[in-house]
Amino acid sequence: MADVTTPTTPGPRPASATAAGRAGSGHEFDSAKTRTQGQIVLRRFLRHRLAMTSFAVLVLLVLFAFAGPLFWSFSYEDSSSGSYLAPSGAHPLGTTEVGKDMLALLMRGTQYSIEIALVVSLLATAMGVVLGALAGYLRGFVDATVMRLVDLLLILPYIAVAAIIIRTVSGSWYMVALVLALFHWMQIARITRAETLSLAQREFVEAARACGAGTWRIIFKHLVPNMIGSITVNATLTVATAVLAEAGLSFIGLGVQLPDTSLGVIVSENYPQVVQRPWLFWGPFLVIVLISLTINFIGDGLRDAFDPRQTKVRA
């Protein structure tokens, strides 16, 4: 209960401030300290039952998507099977109109959807953290500019802007990921900015500045490590948001374009068959829900693990 002003940070442990005082062996001491902190978080997370179950399910899904095609007898490109075959031993989820095996397609779509979501989350988090920390640390003009940019992007409907850019440039999966990232960093920037505003007032930041540390060093060595908890949690939750955003955009036909595919594209192409051939819809649907559900639970588990005040799981 040492600190209640920054509930989502892993407590006031300015490790680098102590390191600055012990110039020679400082680095070694520093990394040992950090590992202990990481170990506490890891132990808490490993004991979070719901999060660990979700993690196991997610690992299975990733294996299904990336290793599955190596063992599966049909390729997503192979359209030699009959049109709209019912589920059988050879095609557990049936075939599509053009005679492609649904299970093979599903593996391919899951691959793309996971890749897109990861790229969106990494890029959005990087942008959000850098811009948010700069805004909160430098304040003044930089802060005003970044925050107006956030306001601006929040009023522009991302679905339309993304559709226009994708239509102009290309509908390949990385383009969709780039454009979605452009519209998902604002939340992280706001959180980082708020935490930076309060952290920047602490003595260890002042000490670092007195030692002559520059803006970037203070941000990356002193500020970011102290808010790694909320950054990790939000990056995780962004993955789930991105899966749904990509699926939605592709569903209305304005996201990922063939020959690339995604879960949204697969649902979009097969949902008119939902009454006659429900298996063509329920397969991709189940995968989307499982991905976002497990990631949400993992995010929840991480939040609990990073929260020094939580009592649900012992350290």
């Binding site: 409907p157 339309a160 559709a163 102009t168 209305i252 949204g264 939902v274 989307i288 829900v289 976002s292």
Partner: protein, 332 residues
């Protein structure tokens, strides 16, 4: 309060100007609206030039933006250049579509608020009960489902339900394609039958995610007020449980949820676009899809501006509601 509203509106004007300018540049870079005409057989360069001049695309971008802006604020939103639309008036198309989508959004939001608040309050009052756990699990599940999948599932069950009705000799009730048509003609019972059948499934699909968010939010805020000092005081005075919950806790616990609902409008709007696609409504969703596919710059601009202004207005509504409901907050 009035002064605050005016000041906020004035602040949002530059943001809207920059936003529309960026949109304009983006839309202009989308493609050449003349390419389809050029590709047609038997079209001369003079025809293309004439269309270019009448659309104004032969001038530099800043001039074009200024032209667009001045006519836009005067109510002239331009005409569609998509072929097959007979140069339809953008204002008419977008406002008609907005009305269709707005109906869906309003019904879904109201239903989500009422149900979400009710479930949230019950879950908070009976914390850690079976009801609470069920509501929490369902909310998590609803969060993880894409809106369009919910719509598809409801639509497929709707079709089966209709088939069941016809097999029992009744009329088909649930409409799974298209918004209500024919206005308010026919008897009262008929109108109710028609409108409820048309709105039920799209509203339910759109409602689900907001409902999940509101019920979680209401539960959290209700728990917070239930543990506050003034509620303990009210209990200590010997007031009945119902009076404490509704008169003292509930009214204050409503504040954050109502504000969230106003802020959430943009997201619900995106959901409405997908719901419309599944149920075949000609709302903002189909306007956007066809405008993007057919390189229709005026239509896209009209669309973007209408949505951007709605978001600005609802953000303002959220702030004003917050200050109005919570007397501790003073807008200056």
């Amino acid at each position: 309060m009035i002064r605050y509203i005016i000041r906020r509106l004035l602040i949002s004007i530059p943001i809207l100007l920059v936003g529309t300018f960026l949109s304009f540049v983006l839309v202009a870079s989308l493609g050449d609206p003349l390419s389809e005409l050029r590709a047609k057989p038997g079209v001369t360069e003079a025809d293309v030039q004439a269309l270019a001049q009448s659309l104004g695309v032969d001038k530099p971008i800043l001039v074009r933006y200024w032209d667009w802006l001045t006519s836009f604020v005067q109510g002239d939103w331009g005409t569609s250049v998509a072929l097959g639309q007979a140069r339809a008036d953008v204002y008419t198309v977008v406002t008609d579509a907005l009305w269709v989508t707005a109906q869906l959004v309003i019904f879904a939001q109201l239903l989500a608020l009422v149900l979400g608040v009710a479930v949230g309050v019950l879950a908070a009052v009976r914390q850690y009960s079976i009801f609470d756990y069920t509501a929490t699990s369902l909310a998590f599940l609803a969060f993880s489902m894409p809106v369009f999948c919910v719509a598809i599932i409801l639509k497929s069950y709707g079709i089966q339900f209709n088939n069941l009705l016809t097999s029992m000799g009744a009329d088909r009730w649930l409409t799974t394609a298209g918004p209500p048509t024919g206005g308010f003609s026919g008897g009262f019972g008929e109108v109710i039958f028609k409108y409820s059948g048309t709105f039920l499934l799209p509203t339910l699909s759109l409602m689900l995610i907001s409902f999940a968010a509101y019920s979680r939010f209401q539960r959290a805020s209700m728990l917070e007020t239930l543990h506050s000092d003034y509620v303990r005081t009210a209990r200590a005075k010997g007031l009945s449980q119902g009076r404490v919950i509704f008169r003292h806790a509930f009214r204050n616990a409503l504040i954050p949820v109502v504000t969230l609902a106003a802020l959430n409008v943009g997201q619900v709007f995106t959901g409405a676009i997908m719901t419309e696609q599944v149920f075949g409504w000609n709302g903002m969703g189909s306007v956007l899809v066809s405008a993007v596919r057919q390189y229709d710059p005026n239509m896209l601009m009209g669309w973007l501006v209408v949505v951007a202004i709605s978001v600005v207005v609802f953000n303002l509504v959220a702030d004003v509601l917050y200050a109005y409901l919570d007397p501790r907050i003073r807008l200056g």
